[in-house]
């Protein structure tokens, strides 16, 4: 029962953050929201009995992917001004 409540909570959080990542005008906020979607998705994988996938998603989806987005954004901003 506790698992189901946690899963519903995580699901609502994931969907709200995904909509925020699409709608927000500020690109920095959108990138961080997309990283947070991956982070909460990794907790959902743990509830779905997939610890291997959870480790991969936490390290790659929310760590390295966000960093790569920020590197590119930083480069674009530097060329701008």
């Amino acid at each position: 029962m506790l698992n189901i409540i946690l899963a519903i909570f995580l699901g609502i959080l994931i969907i709200v953050l995904a909509i925020m990542a699409v709608l927000n005008k500020n690109i920095v906020v959108a990138i961080i929201a997309a990283g947070a979607v991956s982070l909460f998705a990794s907790v959902l994988y743990l509830i779905l009995a997939a610890p291997d996938v959870a480790m991969t998603e936490a390290a790659i989806g929310s760590g390295l992917s966000t960093i790569i987005f920020f590197y590119v954004l930083n480069k674009i901003n530097r060329q701008n001004g």
Binding site: M55, T56, A59, I60, L64, Y71
Partner: protein
């Protein structure tokens, strides 16, 4: 306006397809035939306690080889696009990071790399494996790039590590052809005792190569996209 209606129609259509696909799905009650074979015979045939590792490295090892090749290809294309121009080696004005970040990174980076190595060596016993360990190592190195901008790891070193581990992966697969049942068969050096560190035949060796390869590729991608190169 017409365009918006069109996008709305596409979204509704995709939603209808997905909902119809899963409307009658009540959940599995038992494993399928192939999964049943993997779980029931995996420990005896492969000797790995983690069934996911057995599927990734041995039963579907050829897929993993192709996957590592795709990752290598994308890393190579990123490096080709964002070629580093040989600018003059005068003093670049790098921003100094804060003292706290600098000190913390000096403590954390070796521990993160050690943890990554632990994760891919124990891939056949506990959750984890080459992909996760490589990603953790790459995260540690990216933290080092951010916190200590003066310290540099050359592209050449990363390329050498990547090439050696890629060749090692394929050679282990060929050793399976020569000494065991087929390409990437792990029964090359004997399976050992189930559940100990030195068991599961060639799986730890293959996962060490996969971990080094994935880690060096992801580090290479991050290094190519780093901001103080290729200003033009």
């Amino acid at each position: 306006m017409v365009k918006n209606a069109f996008i709305f129609l596409i979204l509704i259509g995709v939603a209808m397809i997905l909902v119809n696909l899963f409307a009658g799905f009540t959940g599995n009650v038992d494993l399928g035939q192939i999964a049943n074979h993997y779980v029931a015979n995996g420990p005896a045939e492969v000797g790995s306690a983690n069934i996911v590792t057995a599927v990734v490295v041995t039963y579907r090892g050829f897929d993993t080889l192709g996957e590592v090749t795709i990752l290598f290809l994308s890393a190579a294309i990123v490096g080709f696009f964002l070629k580093i121009e040989n600018t003059d080696n005068t003093e670049r004005n790098l921003k100094y990071t804060s003292e706290i970040l600098n000190t913390a990174s000096q403590v954390l980076v070796p521990i993160m790399i050690l943890f990554g190595v632990y994760v891919f060596i124990n891939g056949h016993l506990s959750p984890g494996g080459g992909f996760q360990g490589g990603a953790i190592i790459a995260s540690g190195l990216v933290l080092m790039f951010i916190a200590q901008p003066k310290k540099e790891i050359g592209h050449k070193l990363i390329n050498i590590i990547e090439s050696i581990s890629g060749v090692g992966f394929v050679l282990m697969g060929l050793a399976g052809v020569l000494f065991a049942g087929g390409f990437l068969d792990n029964n090359v050096i004997g399976l050992g005792k189930f559940g100990t560190l030195f068991s599961a035949g060639a799986i730890p060796i293959i996962y060490i190569f996969v971990g080094l390869k994935v880690g060096s590729e992801l580090t290479g991608i991050a290094l190519s996209l780093k901001e103080n190169q290729n200003e033009a």
